[in-house]
Amino acid sequence: MTQLALVIDLNVCVGCHACVTNCKEWNTSGSAGALSDDNPYGKDPTGTFFNRVQTYEVGQFPKTETVHFPKSCLHCEDPPCVPVCPTGASYKRKEDGIVLVDYDKCIGCRYCSWACPYGAREIDEHQKVMKKCTLCVDRIYDENLPEAERQPACVLACPTTARIFGDVHDPDSVVSVAIRELGGYQLMPEWGTKPSNHYLPRRKNHVSYKKDELERVDNPLKKEDYQVDASEPSLDDVTSW
């Protein structure tokens, strides 16, 4: 079974918001209609976004680290937003595990947004239906695009490759290997939603040496280059500089 998802590497995210703008751009231009944007340059701008980058400070000054944290729908394996929907507009695709909203069936009751602990769903104030990240379902299967571009807009936009896209159920996929080898984790595991999107933690690589690894103990003459053949005269022996 396929479960498409994103793996987001917090170690390399620089918080540039390129994924946010590219997501907005792609999803406001699609066949589902524009994503709301009210007063974009006015006093109280508001709008619908599928993806946001937040910033957290970890630790206490001066020992702090700034963590940029992109957040979009996690396409849970057990999505709490789906069973609560009274119309069946909210559903999880069997073939690839993407959680979607059928905008033609949604009655805009907002119950699914109450049922999502991550705040991943936003109502479109103009179309009056619930919207959310589609994992760019209208891109990733589009055969008119070159194969390298059949990826979510946010992934294509990321300048540091902090976002990887793939099938988390395929153990050999690049996302599965990253989760397995770099300590990938899920958000709010306490609610049993089993998010498909994973996050890779901050990592610092330290190499540790022991003293005897730098300084050889089995070298009684303290000569570093013991491979020099002492039977032959060296340059120092035959010339005076």
Binding site: T46, G47, Y56, E57, P86, Y111, G119, I123
Partner: protein, 325 residues
């Protein structure tokens, strides 16, 4: 959560309507079983059922304002296998139909006796009433479960939520029945007022229990689990945008702790203290005026109670929206 007035009116109005029907039917069952010797008149049943139906319709109208696309509301009946909201949407019209039928049978005098068990005569309305009672309780459960089934809204995720919807709806309906009795059949006042007082005390105990429970709750989700970073000191520096969004509007009431406390105190006084005093005084000296004040105080109090119920729900998504920039 940000309380939505459409849902506040929906739940309080249909609760009162359901409670009123339960009051009428309780009176009938008690008379049939010879527990009380005063029968409600057909006029009383008809008026009571009509008022109950009006309340349910008003609730339904209020609910429409909650929908973005009310023209598609019929679709909401489709997912009854998984969704309590869908179940509520199905049961509400069934309950309305059965209560209407119950009122019609009394109003038109179609109340034939269907059979006799021993000395007990089973009338047609008794059977319809039984079905309507089942529908009314199912509706209470569906309404309560809409909120109680959301496990990460810890304040709501408790059997107390369902119990309180049943008890608060019932007590407001019984109080309204007492008022209608004062208009049309004052000899029924002791029966309905007595039941109202019993339900009021029960509702106070269970609503109080839920207040105490919620005060002691510790949120399971923290900023650590929300972003998955294991450090004791994590501060949000930016939520990612400086304008508003659904996330900043829909999930927080935006009021001060003092305001919240005031609403709580107001509803405790208006739902429990004032009606209790007035119901006891009505037992001693029946008066339409006093019972009208008791009913009005209870209903307004219930609006505050429901506002508080929604506002008290602490949604974990708020963890992600603490700092603008």
């Amino acid at each position: 959560m940000q309380p939505a007035f459409s849902v506040i009116f929906l739940t309080t109005l249909i609760g009162m309507g359901q409670g009123l029907f339960l009051a009428l039917y309780t009176g009938q069952v008690y008379f049939v079983l010879n527990v009380v010797d005063i029968a409600s008149t057909d006029v009383f049943y008809s008026i009571g059922s009509a008022v109950s139906i009006v309340l349910l319709i008003l609730g339904l109208v209020a609910s429409v304002f909650h929908l973005g696309r009310p023209e598609r509301a019929w679709r909401a009946a489709s997912m009854w296998r998984t969704s309590w909201l869908s179940r509520e949407v199905i049961i509400l019209p069934i309950a309305m139909a059965l209560i209407s039928l119950y009122g019609m049978v009394h109003f038109m005098g179609w109340n034939l006796s269907v059979m006799t068990i021993g000395a007990v005569v089973i009338e047609l309305s008794l059977i319809i009433g039984l079905l309507a009672t089942i529908a009314v309780f199912s509706l209470f459960i569906a309404t309560g479960m809409i909120y109680a089934c959301l496990k990460f809204l810890q304040e709501w995720h408790s059997p107390l939520t369902v119990i309180n919807y049943i008890l608060l709806g019932s007590v407001s309906g019984f109080t309204l029945a007492t008022l209608i009795a004062a208009y049309k059949q004052p000899e029924l006042i002791p029966f309905f007022a007595g039941w109202s007082i019993v339900l009021l005390v029960l509702a106070f105990i269970f609503r109080g229990a839920s207040l105490i429970r919620n005060k002691r709750l510790r949120p399971k989700s923290t900023v650590q689990t929300a972003i998955g970073i294991r450090h004791n000191q994590i501060k949000q520096k930016s939520m990612g945008f400086m304008g508003g969004s659904v996330n900043t509007r829909d999930f927080f009431h935006g009021k001060t702790a003092f305001f919240l406390r005031s609403v709580k105190n107001i509803f405790i006084i208006m739902v429990f203290a004032i009606p209790l005093t007035l119901l006891i005084s009505a037992l001693i000296k029946p008066s339409v005026m006093i019972l009208a004040i008791a009913t009005a105080s209870m209903y307004v109090g219930l609006l505050a109670e429901r506002w508080y119920f929604f506002a008290e729900g602490n949604h974990p998504q708020n963890i992600y929206y603490q700092t603008i920039a």
